[in-house]
Amino acid sequence: MPGQGLINGLAVTLKTMTKRSSTQQYPDVEPDLPPRSRGVIALLEENCTVCMLCARECPDWCIYIDSHKEEVVVPGAARARQRNVLDKFDIDFSLCMYCGICIEVCPFDALHWTPEFEYAETDVLNLLHDKDRLGDWMRTVPPPPAHDVLGEPSKEEATAARKAAGPGAATPAKTARPAVRPEPEK
Amino acid sequence: MTVADVLLLALGAVAVGSGAAVVTSNHLVRSGLYLVISLGAVAGLYLVLGAELVAWVQILVYVGAVVVLLLFAVMLTRAPIGPSRDLDRPAWPALIVGGGVGLGLAALLADAFRWTLYDRPPPGTAERMGTQIFGQWVLPFEVLSILLLAALVGAIVLSRPDIGAREGEEA
């Protein structure tokens, strides 16, 4: 029938109008962001060892790190140990392109994505977040999402499971998943 | 002087003034726009004279179509914004002939009608006009429709070079 498409078009828009709109009322209602949303980067200072991996991997060089060495006297040890102490850890968010390489590369989980995105400034200089401010963001880091039950267990889990099972068990940790795999949903 | 007289004078002044601007303006497109004003004023004159239908036909056909076509043609032939220098020919012959015709006719008509007072006629309704056209003037009306058709065909043939091109001739 000629004109069928035209009528269908009208029907689609009319139907959409009667449905609830999918707008999120953002400033009034907080957005429900998924975990690992790339908002701002938070720093857990205690985990940082000043290995400088993040600063070196950063594609646009927006991480600035200063540190000094400190001697820590460990009782019973032969001599005092040396430890890196962080003096400065700045991220310039006016340069950052949110690639997340620093977070990926950090061996000690000192850097985290947080979904917090409201840190616009009227002066671009204020976008340089120092380590206090970065540390402050830690409170907005959500707990990591639960593991996928069908996923492979993490290396740490696997190792722990293997140790718990004792040396006799071959490698049961690899099959730590449910014995009967449920049918994938169609 | 009645209200009608004042209106006639004012509208007449506007019509003649903008008419003069049409033929003297150096701006091509502005000429056309002055023509709109002039034709609108003439339509107002028709209204005062009680010819309502003619007035609105004037607006519909002249302002809505004829002037638009003229402006269209002006723009298609690359009218510049601002004054153009080579629009006019020497003024004297035109001034003598045009002024002679205009003032002569004006004098003639002024002398013929003097300052005679006429009653304002009752407005010519569409119904009475229709009765006239389709009663008294049916034949001219039909002839006119044929002429319109001929003009339509003529305009199409003229503006489409691929129609009527001779055999073997590049259109």
């Binding site: - | 003439v42 003229l70 002939v97 004006a106 008509l109």
Partner: protein, 123 residues
């Protein structure tokens, strides 16, 4: 109502139209001047209609002269006819002008070669 006002307006408009036709070189401006003349004629027709109708009130008209009843608004009817003619004229006139422009890249009426001249036709 003094009929002389629109009459004189019409006459002056006609004069302006004649002036425009003779003075202008651009074909479209010439057409505009022609429109002015046609309007002047229309104005005179309508005025004459109104004036004559106002004068003839109560005058007995010979019935043989008008078999279809009293002639009223003939001026207006003629004006309508003229308007229609003007529309037709502009349609054809502009088609000619545009065609000419397409051939010569010019719209000046005094440059139209009236004799046959193949060399002048560019393209």
């Amino acid at each position: 109502m003094h009929a002389v006002i629109p009459y004189v307006t019409g006459a002056l408009l006609f004069g302006l139209g004649v002036y425009g036709v003779l003075r202008r070189r651009n074909a479209i401006l010439v057409l505009m001047a022609v429109e002015l003349m046609l309007n002047a004629v229309n104005l005179i027709l309508v005025t004459a209609d109104a004036a004559v109708r106002a004068t003839l009130v109560g005058v007995q008209i010979e019935s043989w002269a008008y078999p279809n009843g009293r002639p009223a608004h003939s001026g207006g009817v003629f004006a309508l006819f003229v308007i229609v003619l003007a529309a037709a004229e502009v349609g054809v006139g502009l088609a000619i002008v545009l065609q000419y422009y397409r051939m010569r890249r010019a719209v000046h009426v005094d440059e139209v070669a009236l004799h046959h001249d193949d060399e002048q036709v560019s393209r």
